[in-house]
């Protein structure tokens, strides 16, 4: 759970950064724009489980100085990389959906391009993409189960071991309920926020 929350925060920030870079227009930013595009294509194209494997076993195997070896951290890095690329695309769709006249208005009000993005475009974009963001949020929460391949004990892993030793599958159901206990309230809370905002406007 701690792993999931940490990763989610990183994903939301990194994803936004990548999206903002990808939607920038300045010619000088072309190299990092390209880098951001490659980043998205790459990490979206690789199965998450493979990425967890690669980072989880590959990085310690390189035996580099100062590189974390804690499997939880490594799993967190792998999940952050994968999910930021999905979330970046969600943000990007949101930013693209804001009419250019809003940018004009921001600039005409005397804001810089960055301020226009920060105060005018991104707040509206984030509001618009909240449902798909939640989708990725839930899917990340479930993919935390993948870290079990690194030998980390999380709910699914523990349930599996338990079921295998007793031939009783109740622990798996318990694990499923555990996941639902997190995702279900999250969905309802978001629905509630969205509904309240619609009433307000």
């Amino acid at each position: 759970m701690k792993l999931f929350l940490g990763v989610e925060v990183i994903v939301l920030m990194l994803g936004l950064l990548v999206a903002v870079i990808r939607t920038s227009k300045a010619p000088a930013l072309f190299p990092i724009r390209m880098l951001a595009a490659v980043y998205c294509d790459f990490f979206r194209g690789v199965p998450v489980i493979l990425l967890v494997y690669l980072v989880g076993f590959g990085i310690p195997a390189l035996d580099l100085e100062g590189v974390p070896k804690d499997p939880i951290i490594l799993a967190g890095i792998a999940l952050s990389l994968a999910y930021s690329s999905y979330v970046a695309e969600v943000y990007r769709a949101g930013i693209a959906s804001i009419h250019p006249s809003q940018t004009d208005a921001g600039l005409a009000t005397g804001l810089t391009r960055f301020q226009t993005l920060r105060f005018v475009v991104v707040p509206q974009a984030v509001r618009r993409v909240r449902p798909p963001l939640l989708n990725d949020f839930i899917s990340l929460q479930k993919d935390v189960a993948l870290v079990s391949v690194l030998g980390i004990s999380e709910a699914f892993r523990i349930a599996q071991v338990e079921a295998a030793s007793t031939f009783n599958y109740t622990p798996l159901i318990a694990a499923a309920l555990l996941y639902l206990a997190v995702t279900f309230p999250m969905a309802r809370i978001l629905d509630h926020i969205t509904a309240r905002e619609q009433i307000n406007s």
Binding site: D104, A105, G106, L107, A108, T109, G110, L111, Q124, R127
Partner: protein, 250 residues
């Protein structure tokens, strides 16, 4: 008509791809003066205003603000825009912000004014344009005419050198046009310098010191409202005014 030149437009051209939108515009706007830009849709009125606010890059020519060339690449467009106020045809208010936030965003973020001070000034502006008590509403809770007056307050909040008004009544229901025009009329009486792109000929006649008729990206006739609107010389202007007359717009 002898005040200092605030905005000078010299030989400005602009093309979007193959299509020439501005074909060499010359125009001078003096202090406390209001110029009405008239002309058919697509004649280049909006583009010209957007060029002045540096929202669109010009191809050739110069635009000067208080004697300084602002279309030079070395000029920071943000600094220029902070000296000009722009009001859009479709209001373009920030829908996620309250009315007062819309009006104070520029002074707080662009000019670094204190939040409290900006709020007080914003409140006074809103009050003045008949929007007292609506500070905390969201833009979509207001009528079109009210929204456009908020947009006017937003443009005025940075105390601009000149106002650029881009067909500010074209998106409004007829019965709401009057409020917005009254507001502009007040500003003119106070000595605000402005360029007004408009389809409202009676308004142009009343408020503008000078009328410029744009046709296919060129100013082909320019002069006092009485002259241009009553006795235009060019056949294009005559035709344009006849059409408006036929449509009951004069």
């Amino acid at each position: 008509m002898s005040g200092n030149a605030v905005i000078e437009i010299q030989g400005v051209t602009k093309a979007f791809g193959e299509r020439e939108v501005l074909g060499g515009i010359d125009l001078t706007l003096r202090e406390h003066e209001a110029i009405a830009l008239i002309g058919a849709s697509g004649s280049g009125k909006s583009t010209l205003l957007r060029c002045i606010d540096l929202l669109v890059e010009i191809d050739d020519g110069d635009i000067l603000l208080d004697g300084e060339v602002i279309t030079d690449p070395s000029v920071n467009p943000v600094e220029v825009r902070r000296k000009l106020g722009f009001v859009f045809q479709a209001f373009n208010l920030f829908p996620h912000m309250s009315v007062i936030e819309n009006v104070t965003l520029g002074s707080v973020r662009a000019q670094g004014a204190g939040k409290k001070e900006a709020r007080e000034r914003g409140r006074a502006l809103l009050e003045r344009f008949g929007l007292g008590g609506r500070e905390d509403d969201k833009p979509d809770q207001l009528s079109g005419g009210q929204q456009q007056r908020v947009a006017l307050c937003r443009a005025l909040s940075v105390q601009p050198r000149a106002l650029l008004l881009d067909e500010v009544t074209s998106a409004l229901d007829p019965e709401l046009v009057g409020d917005v025009l009254d507001a502009v009329r007040d500003l003119k009486q106070e000595g605000m310098t402005m360029i007004i792109a408009t389809h409202e000929m009676s308004f142009a006649r009343e408020v503008a010191d000078e009328v410029a008729f744009l046709h296919e990206g060129k100013i082909i006739e320019q002069g006092s409202p009485e002259m241009i609107l009553a006795e235009p010389e060019r056949p294009e202007t005559q035709k344009f005014l006849r059409r408006l007359l036929a449509a009951g717009r004069i």
